[in-house]
Structures are given as C-alpha cells and as structure tokens.
C-alpha cells in the first residue's frame, strides 16, 4: 500500500483483512464506512489467495444463484473474510409484473447462505411479462408507481427478513406522466416502507447531465440520513442523435472528476459511509483499481478528521 494514502482498511492483529476501527454510524445497514470493491469472477484468484485490502466486499446476487460448484467456494471465502454488501440487479422492483417469487426465493437462499451486512436493489424495472431485459429501465414518478414499488419493497423486505437499500437510478429518458421529483419519490418510498437508500453519485452525475438538473443540488436535497451505502463508478460520454452530449452509466472506465467532487460533497453532508467502487466492464486487475480505492479511503478519512475537529 502507498504509505502516503490513508488505509483502506485498518490493520488488525487478529485477522489481516478484517478492518477494525469501523465505527458504527446511525445509517441503516451494518457495512463499515470504508472503501469496498465488487467481487468479479475475473478476480477470483486474487480474492481466494490474498484477499484485497478493502473494508467490505460486494457481490451481484444474480451471479451467485447456482446450485453448486466453484463459485460457492469463492462466495464462502469472501463471506468469511469481509462484511458483505449483497446487490441485486434483477428483482425489477419497478415492474408492473408481480415480483418473481422463484427469484425472490433464490435470493432468500443466498441471503441465508452469506448473511450479508446489507442488501440493495434499484428503483428500476428489468422484466416484463416474463421477459428479462438485463437492463435497469426507468419508471415514471407518479402515484401508481409509488404504490406499486412500495408494495414490492414491502414484499421483498418481508421475504428476506431484512430492510433493503434502494438505489437512485441513472436514466436517459423521462416520462410525461412523472409528477414527482426523483428525490422526493425516493424519500417517500423510504418513509412508506422503512427501507434505506443507496446513493450512487455517478448515477446522479449521469442523470443530471442528461436531464439538465444540478447534481450538487440533488445531493443537497437527498435524505442522507437514510443512506446506508454510496456507489461510485465511471461513465462514458456520447452524443445523441441531436448532437447533444449524453452520459452513459457504463461502469467501464475511471471515475470522473465531477463524480469525485460529488462524493466529497455527499460525505461532507452525510458523514462517513461505506463507499463501493463499481467496475463491471473492461475490468482491469485489482491492483489497477487501487488508486481509486485509496482516493475513496482518503475522502473518508478527510471527513472523519473534519467531523472530529468539529465535535
């Protein structure tokens, strides 16, 4: 580790990877307020042999819903050594279809196996009439959607026996029917269901650029006391058919400076939170992600110091 940077996970005498000094906060969920990293099969050997120095691990639930095999060996090894953030991508909470009960049962079995510190899902839909689109598709912010998503969150929390963190989306289009503001919509869902929120600062940057609102004001208004985890990732910039720049939530490149600035703002307002570095495409070796993990850790340390001086 670069000695000039703040530690990603404090050294421990009892186990080298289990971070100590992870103070519990008032936030929902039990992940430590440290830098975390997603477990990718490409990195399986690194996780199995010399687990990376991170404060928590994250898995995509749908990648570990098999009957058996070596992926469970990876999962069990990760769960034994790190607090786990279980992240669902296919529950389709925003769908007009009823929740897929088979899928929910598989999710429940996974929760029982790995006992995650937190479970998160998206304000989005991905299935319709039984067809799975494998994308996080947008919902209208209106009253029927609010009722439907709240029911789906209730049903999920009951089935899993734990509260979930609901993630703000990145979107490319808006709906004529939307008569709620996105932040208000998320806050109302949290109020109705008791769920926590997951703030993805890259999603804020992407949606703000695509729809012409202020990312900073969005974070300022976000109910940060409900935030149990923060995501940060890279995006791509393209031009749409009208020649207007559009940001794509690609998770395939380094985090943009505007997104780092938004992370700093969110942490200053919210205090230390678990921060996950997301990298799902063009995934490099873990060592190449280390500078970004260290930058997250440095941002968390800055906030802890600021808070300590203020109190």
């Amino acid at each position: 580790m670069n000695s000039a940077a703040a530690p990603l996970a404090s050294a421990s005498t009892s186990g080298r990877r289990r971070p100590v000094g992870a103070r519990s906060t008032a936030s929902p969920g039990a992940l430590p307020p440290l830098a975390g990293l997603g477990v990718r099969f490409d990195h399986a050997n690194a996780w199995l042999e010399h687990g990376p120095e991170v404060g928590f691990a994250e898995i995509h639930a749908e990648n570990f819903m098999m009957a058996g095999g070596p992926a469970f060996e990876l999962l069990d090894a990760v769960c034994e050594q790190y607090p786990l953030s279980l992240h669902g991508v296919a529950l389709s909470l925003g769908g007009t279809d009823p929740l897929d009960l088979d899928h929910l049962a598989r999710l429940r079995r996974l929760v029982e196996r790995c006992q995650p510190a937190s479970f998160s899902e998206h304000l989005a839909w991905s299935s319709h009439e039984g067809v799975y689109f494998n994308d996080l598709l947008p919902v209208a912010y209106d009253s029927p959607t609010l009722r439907r998503v709240a029911e789906h969150i209730d049903q999920t929390q009951e089935a899993l026996g734990m509260t979930l963190l609901l993630e703000n989306p990145s979107t490319y289009v808006e709906f004529a029917a939307s008569d709620w503001d996105e932040v208000d919509f998320l806050e109302e869902l949290a109020r109705r269901t008791g769920c926590g929120l997951l703030l993805d600062v890259n999603n804020v940057v992407v949606s703000a650029a695509n729809h012409g609102f202020s990312a900073s004001y969005y974070v300022h208004r976000f109910p940060l006391h409900r935030v149990g985890e923060i995501h940060i990732a890279g995006h791509d910039e393209q031009r749409d058919a009208a020649g207007v720049p559009v940001l794509i939530d690609s998770h395939g490149s380094n985090v943009a400076e505007t997104t780092w600035a938004l992370l700093d703002q969110a942490l200053e307002l919210a205090g230390p939170r678990p921060v996950l570095l997301e990298r799902d495409n063009d995934v490099p070796a873990i060592e190449e992600l280390r500078p970004e993990l260290e930058r997250i850790a440095a941002a968390l340390t800055r906030v802890e110091i600021t808070n300590a001086l203020a109190s």
């Binding site: 749908e62 990648n63 819903m65 098999m66 009957a67 058996g68 095999g69 070596p70 992926a71 469970f72 060996e73 296919a90 529950l91 389709s92 769908g95 007009t96 897929d100 899928h103 598989r106 839909w125 991905s126 299935s127 319709h128 009439e129 039984g130 067809v131 799975y132 689109f133 494998n134 994308d135 598709l137 209208a140 209106d142 029927p144 490319y172 289009v173 808006e174 709906f175 004529a176 029917a177 695509n210 749409d240 058919a241 009208a242 020649g243 207007v244 559009v246 794509i248």
Partner: protein, 241 residues
C-alpha cells in the same frame, strides 16, 4: 398510467415506434435498445466463447442479436440463458454449411450446466480406499455435474483446439462422444469410444456395477468397462448411490 408493455415491446424491436409516454429527445430511447441487446449478446458470448471464436466476434454479435430478438431470456440469471441457442444455430439458414457449430454450442452449454450443477455431497470417502470388489456391489450413476454428448463431428477436439489463440485444424474428421464433468475448480472432458459411451449412458439403469458388466456378456468388454468405470469414479465423474 404509462404502459411498460409499450416500452418493453419497443426495446427488442428497432422498427417499432418509441413508446409514446417518453419525453423523446435525440433518440435517447435507442440507448436502452443498445444496452439491452449488447448486454444480452455479451452474456451469450460469455457462455459460448468457442462459437464466438469460430464465427468471429462481429458475426457472433449479429447471430446472437437475431437469437435475442427471437428468444429473449425468461430467467433473470444470465448464466441460465441460451439453452436453445445451439438449436437456433443449427437451424440458422446462413450457417447451414457449418453443421458442427451447433454441436460445439451444445458442448459449451453442457459445460455451463456442469459448472453450476449441485455439489456431490457424498464425495468424502477416500477414493483409494474403495475396493473394486466393493464397487461391484454398488449402484453407480453419473455425478451431478456429469453430462454426455454425442456428435457426428469431432466436437471435443474442436473445442480443445480453439483454446489456442491460433487454433489448428483437427486431424481427420470423425464423430466424437464426450463426457463433461467437474474436477477440482474446473471442468474435464473424457472423449469416449462408442461402446464406452453406451455403457455409461445405461449404467444408471442397473442395480449394481456387477449387473451392468454382466449384461455386456463379453469378458474383454467387461474388463474394459470396469477400467473405464474405476477411472471415472476416481475422477469424480461417477458416484455410488
């Protein structure tokens, strides 16, 4: 209320109009169309890497797109998507001159099934300690991960050669029968002669290994089958029940 059905139908159909409830600007709905198609074709490329290598990535993307539009996933687990892709390849008119492609795809699908299949929970007896005599009295079946495939093409050889960045041509072209099974953290193939394949395919219908060997009614065939059985048993491809 906005209709997700409209949105959903337009996603996989490029000729269908953008759903009316969208605040449309700069064809941004196409971003969703691209995301859906590219993520699903990428998922197929993960499951069928040798097919992709054989046809080239550009052709594969077009082939997979045609399949996605005709048969989108119904499972939310991408590793479970593509079970009928081999059938699609086998009946795809432009690929009629490459009949082996569908069987290579079948092999890749069986590998995908095998790596995710249930663990063999009985696998705690030290194999060396099993006496052949004791094994003769036991019923033997395929391990949960084991799959059998028979093809008029050298399907396992083609698969193996395409693990090389510069794949060689197979020497000669003959039918192959292969057993796929999990071993350690990976997968193994056993290429089988026809009598061995038939023996393994029917082994599970006999009450004991002894009965299965007796049914061969030929001493040479029986000793050959016994060697095969003990080897595959030790490799974890066969289990006792």
């Amino acid at each position: 209320m906005p209709s997700q059905a409209d949105f959903a139908r337009s996603l996989l159909d490029p000729d269908r109009a953008v759903p009316p409830m969208i605040v449309a600007r700069g064809n941004r709905f196409d971003i969703y169309r691209n995301n859906v198609l590219s993520s699903l074709t990428s998922a197929l490329a993960c499951t069928f890497p040798v097919v992709e290598k054989m046809v080239g990535s550009e052709y594969f993307a077009a082939l997979a797109s045609a399949f996605v539009r005709e048969t989108p996933p119904t499972s939310r687990i991408l590793a479970e998507y593509g079970g009928v892709f081999p059938l699609f390849i086998g009946t795809f008119p432009p690929l009629a001159d490459f009949p082996y492609l569908a069987d290579v795809a079948r092999l890749e699908w069986l590998r995908q099934e095998a790596i995710r299949s249930p663990d063999d929970l009985q696998r705690d007896t030290p194999l060396a300690s099993i006496e052949v005599e004791a094994l003769m009295e036991r019923k033997l079946v395929l391990a949960p991960s084991a799959r059998l495939l028979t093809s008029p093409h050298p399907v396992a050889t083609l698969w193996r050669l395409h693990q090389d960045p510069e794949p060689a041509q197979p020497e000669g072209w003959r039918s192959e029968r292969v057993m796929i099974f999990r071993q350690d953290r990976g997968l193994a193939h056993a290429v089988l002669e026809e009598p061995d394949f038939v023996f393994l395919a029917t082994l599970g219908t006999f009450e004991t290994l002894g009965d299965a060997l007796w049914a061969l009614q030929d001493t040479d065939a029986a000793s050959r089958a016994l060697r095969l059985t003990t080897n595959l048993y030790q490799a974890g491809a066969l289990i006792t029940v």
